[in-house]
Symmetry: C2
Amino acid sequence: MRLFKKVAIIGTGLIGGSLSLAIKKKGIAAQVVGVSRRKESLAEAKKIGAIDDGSRGLGIIKGADLVVFATPVEAIIKLAPRIRRIISPDSIVIDVGSTKEKIVSCLGKIFTNYVGTHPLAGSEKSGIINARQDIFKGSLCILTPTGKTAPAALKKINLFWRTLETKTIILSPQTHDKILAFTSHLPHIIAFSLIASVPDKYLKVSSTGLRDTTRLAASSSEIWEQILLSNKKHIIDSIRVFQKNLSAIALGIQKNNKKALSAILMLARKKRDTLSAT
Amino acid sequence: MRLFKKVAIIGTGLIGGSLSLAIKKKGIAAQVVGVSRRKESLAEAKKIGAIDDGSRGLGIIKGADLVVFATPVEAIIKLAPRIRRIISPDSIVIDVGSTKEKIVSCLGKIFTNYVGTHPLAGSEKSGIINARQDIFKGSLCILTPTGKTAPAALKKINLFWRTLETKTIILSPQTHDKILAFTSHLPHIIAFSLIASVPDKYLKVSSTGLRDTTRLAASSSEIWEQILLSNKKHIIDSIRVFQKNLSAIALGIQKNNKKALSAILMLARKKRDTLSAT
């Protein structure tokens, strides 16, 4: 379904590139252009048919009626004022960033038709080389409008994500960041901490358990450093809750307290079983 | 290759059942019998052709020239003296337990031809219902002989596991437990702690990241409570190292220390990349 004339993707990495492919595949826009600081990324995006045209300069986005920020957090904040001067005030602007309070507060002031979004798609992999048009299919996309969000823009962006076959839900930026601190940022931190804790020479005496539990640690450090620093308070809260549970297990082991240990393990299993099947 | 006349599997769960299937498939024994406290488990094991015969009583193992302990740790310790009275002193005895110091010390005193083994196979699933004959193929099996282990028994058990297509390595029980504390027991504890930390109502706002990082939390609490309590010291050490790394990340976030945060994240990624591909 044709929803836009010209879509500009700022950042043609894993998410930006996959989104471009999906937009092309669904016929959502007549034209898709990409901006990246890396020539090779643009060349690859063009080669796989994700974008019609690409450039390292922002001029190419002129005339876009949808602009999608798909760069790390800091680049979103930095590029926004420059992009504002190039596009029409009527253009709809979204971002796909993993934290929302900071980005929504910043972009909401700059663009008239801005809607914060966060598709829970992607993986520990990064770069256009790993882009696939089907990563959004069946996934959850969180929309984070505020009291100032234009209703028409919200409605159109909701339709946009549903056309890409994501389920959409609406959360405030604050609630989004609070929840994602536990369900995404904390798991990343745990994966980083866990693999960092295993002595190098022990690594090969391991199996799928360590591999899966630390998969997220293969994520881009540049992207994740910025995500973590843009959701400080909620992340620190989530780490505290985690530390409490870890200490409870450690104490159960130390004191040989079978009953306490068993209770935590059974609760954990019950909660894990409510997540969709592996 | 025929290596044994009669193999007795004590505990026809995921590992015991899979092992029975693999033994049958490879023609390693003329006869395989199973012992389980659950009638249903024995019935299923017989139905899928994992065992020729099964019983809730130990009498059935009489005449076995290989006995395999595949029950949780406590049952191994408890059943060993009773089994000693039933089998010939010449019989080879192994266990497939996840910790070795305690089990090896106990069984080494009871059986003349005992060899501790730990195949790094299996998953968070449990029970005969999840048994598959190919779970050992390509995996790593750790053999933990001591100064008292009979060389002929060790040689034969090494051949046994290699016939099942595992790679085998030899470690002392102490080294095994120290390493596995980091590469298996800690990841389980982390997975339990992580899922326990996520508020129930947040669980559905999550994706594959949380699911994979907590996969191990779906493990049997009965089995894991016993594993954790049988490797206390090394596990507590591993938790301390983990807590240090987690605190370093938390501090980096709190202090906005990009350089420190980036260093940890990059180290983590580098280490994770040395694990075999996901």
